[in-house]
Amino acid sequence: MADDLEQFRRDTRAWLEANCPPEMREPVRSEKDICWGGRKWTFQSEAQRRWLEIMAERGWTVPDWPREYGGGGLSPAEAKVLRQEMASLGCRKPLESFGISMLGPALLKYGTEEQKQEHLPKIARGEIRWCQGYSEPNAGSDLASLATRAEDKGDHFLVNGQKVWTSYADQADWIFCLVRTDPAAKQGGISFLLFDMETPGVSTKPILLISGNSPFCETFFDDVVVPKDQVLGAVNDGWSVAKYLLGHEREMISGMGGRSLGPSLPELALRRAGRDEHGRLDDPVLRARIALFEVRSHAFAAMSERFLDRLKAGSVHPAQASMMKYLGTELNKDRHELLMAAGGSEALEWDSEASHGGAAARAWLRTKANSIEGGTSEIQLNIVAKRILELPEA
């Protein structure tokens, strides 16, 4: 079997080398280099379009989904090999998508055969771009208190209400959305709806963040008609679907604190702060704080590796995703605090050319949302305390 895998590795590498356009092997430099697909998408280049098409053709935009839904049908081991080879050749991801990372797994688990046939292949081919409608102004951490209503009108639901923090809602084609179908129950009165953002009554408004422009929107529903077969899972059982999906989201976000490609924190700090006469970073206290941070950062990289290995082996406690989310986002915030300290006054510039439009300061501010979005750090700690440590409710 190890031999088969080695053969697969050789074949994959050869295919990637032959087929991945050179432009798609350049490092990602800006938002525009990331392909999100969807009806409104404008490809940045012919290479970006081609790369998506040929990868989608092999099912390799979603390598571990079943072939019948547009996936590659790869085993976990093969999918890992593909990832490794793409990383080693510097191939860009052909498609970034909430459909892949969030909705897909939930559709595979809870979808009817019709729903899977309808939605999964379009996700795999990047034809439909999805967004997520969970949070509301008065339902942040306490999602179960959401108020957006879907009234049962016989053959359809009539949806009214407001969502916040819907990323890229203004660019998405469809939304997966938590709505209240039973006002009497709390968690037990929520359903998980799928509907087209072009349905009459849907409107969006971008949210400006403290860091500047953001992908986030407020999304408003005013008498939106949603056919009843567009419920994922059972009516009033949307909470189960949402929890399953949130677990996947946390795993995704938890990767952020890891050691990313590109220059390390010490390298960046050295560029900004320089060296003293002994060759050390020219700020002894900052150097010590960076060194202590790097201990944590390396250790967290090991933790991420271990978490993913155990996830694949099915031996990880599911609530460890909460731990990873907590650790990764807090670490990422610390990292940017240190980068700001290393940058001194130049890192404070907000729109100068030299600062690339305030890139350092905006990135630093943006990280502050990491420990809020996808479940706050406080919520993650609650989950670890209750589900892993089994500490009692108050």
């Binding site: 949070s135 102004p137 008065n138 942040g140 951490s141 306490d142 208190s145 916040v164 923090w165 949210i207 400006l208 963040l209 403290i210 500047g212 900004r272 702060a273 020219d282 700020d283 002894p284 206290v285 900052l286 704080r289 915030k333 605090e337 700001m340 300290a341 940058g343 001194g344 006054s345 130049e346 890192a347 404070l348 510039e349 907000w350 729109d351 100068s352 030299a354 600062s355 305030g358 300061a361 630093w364 501010l365 502050k368 949302a369 420990s371 809020i372 979005e373 706050t376 750090s377 406080e378 700690l381």
Partner: protein, 378 residues
């Protein structure tokens, strides 16, 4: 002297607080930001401050000022911080005025009354790199006829593009790191050879890069003694560090007050979030840190006013402690507000941005911890 405000200082605070809250609240900052105001502060507000006597708080009565001390300047700065008022107060009314105290009567007479009246804005041009290292002075001032010719560059000069007067540290002898050989100059911004380019900072304020290309000044522009400017420079730095600590205190208190209100109103899971013990302990810890920072800052200002031997150390402690406490305050404020705290529409993000700029200005906590270690010989 007891370590709390005396009755007169409390009275001053009672005057300053409502005045600044009405004249230049956070909405004022937001309006300047939305207008992309090129000055980064309002001359109208500045003149209103002058009308109240604030700009002359440290100027002696002979020059029309209030003749008060660093403690009183700190009272004004705390309210500037609490309201996030964009203002050249720290550089002008504390930094430049403190420098000018060491100037001769002619120079004092030419600048101080105009600072008091609100006509003149001043700025400190001390940093030569992105990181605060005022102990290294490389900008050259060479003897030239009766006076000097200055060449070199300074950066992170707050509101330097709008300043009428720049207080510049320059090297008149020795190498960049030498203790002696530093001279302070009073440089009008409009002098030939001065180029100022300003950039917007994260907190809406503006900071300038100042380039001097053979700028000629005569001997009367020297503040204090030629080659002996280090002591004055250190005194000025200690005053603006303590002042920045007061402003940070105000920023932190403002952010904390918003957060406490929010904790008492926002409900999640059927309960006011301020009733959750984990948040209560963090809020109580934060309160404690802010109280400590306040004590350290007041101590520094009293020491500066009393001319105590420990004044420089106390100022470093104050700036370092205020940096830590206020950093915690704004981080907790954003985190405890959750998503809404991340939106530009809500004010709390402005507190985080201003805190960051002030934390950096005149040396951050890392810098001052290291300086403290060097002062104490380890």
């Amino acid at each position: 002297m007891p370590l709390f405000l005396d009755a007169e200082q409390e009275m001053l605070a009672d005057t300053v607080r409502p005045f600044i809250a009405e004249t230049a609240p956070v909405a004022h900052l937001r309006a300047l930001r939305d207008a992309d105001d090129p000055a980064g502060f309002s001359r109208k507000v500045w003149r209103a401050f002058a009308g109240m006597g604030f700009t002359g708080v440290l100027v002696d009565e002979a020059h029309g000022g209030l003749g008060l001390g660093q403690v009183e300047a700190g009272i004004v700065l705390e309210e500037i911080g609490r309201n996030l008022t964009p203002s050249p107060f720290l550089g002008t009314a504390v930094g430049a005025v403190e420098a000018l105290r060491h100037a001769d009567e002619a120079m004092q007479g030419s600048w101080l009354p105009r600072i008091v009246s609100g006509e003149v804005v001043a700025a400190l041009a001390l940093d030569e790199s992105a990181r605060h290292r005022p102990e290294r002075v490389a900008l050259k001032a060479e003897r030239h006829g009766n006076g000097f010719r200055l060449s070199g560059a300074k950066q992170f000069v707050a509101f330097g593009h709008e300043a009428d007067l720049l207080v510049v540290s320059a090297r008149t002898s020795g190498g960049a790191a030498d203790e002696d050989g530093v001279t302070l100059f009073a440089l009008p911004r409009t002098q030939a050879g001065v180029t100022v380019s300003a950039e917007r900072l994260a907190d809406v304020s503006m900071a300038a890069r100042v380039e001097l290309d053979g700028v000629e000044l005569d001997g009367s522009a020297v503040i204090g003694e030629v080659d002996g400017g280090r002591a004055v420079l250190n005194r000025v730095l200690s005053c603006v560090r303590a002042g920045a600590a007061s402003e940070l205190q105000g920023v932190a208190e403002g952010a904390s007050a918003m957060t406490l209100d929010y904790l008492k109103q926002r409900k999640q899971f059927g309960r006011v979030i301020g009733s959750y013990q984990a948040l209560q302990h963090r809020a109580a810890h934060l309160y404690s840190e802010l109280e400590v920072a306040r004590a350290a800052t007041l101590k520094a200002q009293q020491s500066l006013d009393a001319g105590s031997d420990t004044a420089d150390r106390d100022a470093s402690v104050a700036k370092a402690m205020a940096g830590m406490a206020s950093g915690l305050a704004v981080r907790e404020a954003v985190q405890m507000h959750g998503g809404i705290g991340m939106t530009d529409e809500y004010d709390v993000g402005f507190f985080m941005k201003r805190q960051r700029v002030l934390a950096e200005m005149f040396g951050d906590t890392d810098y001052h911890a290291d300086l403290l270690a060097r002062m104490e010989g380890y």
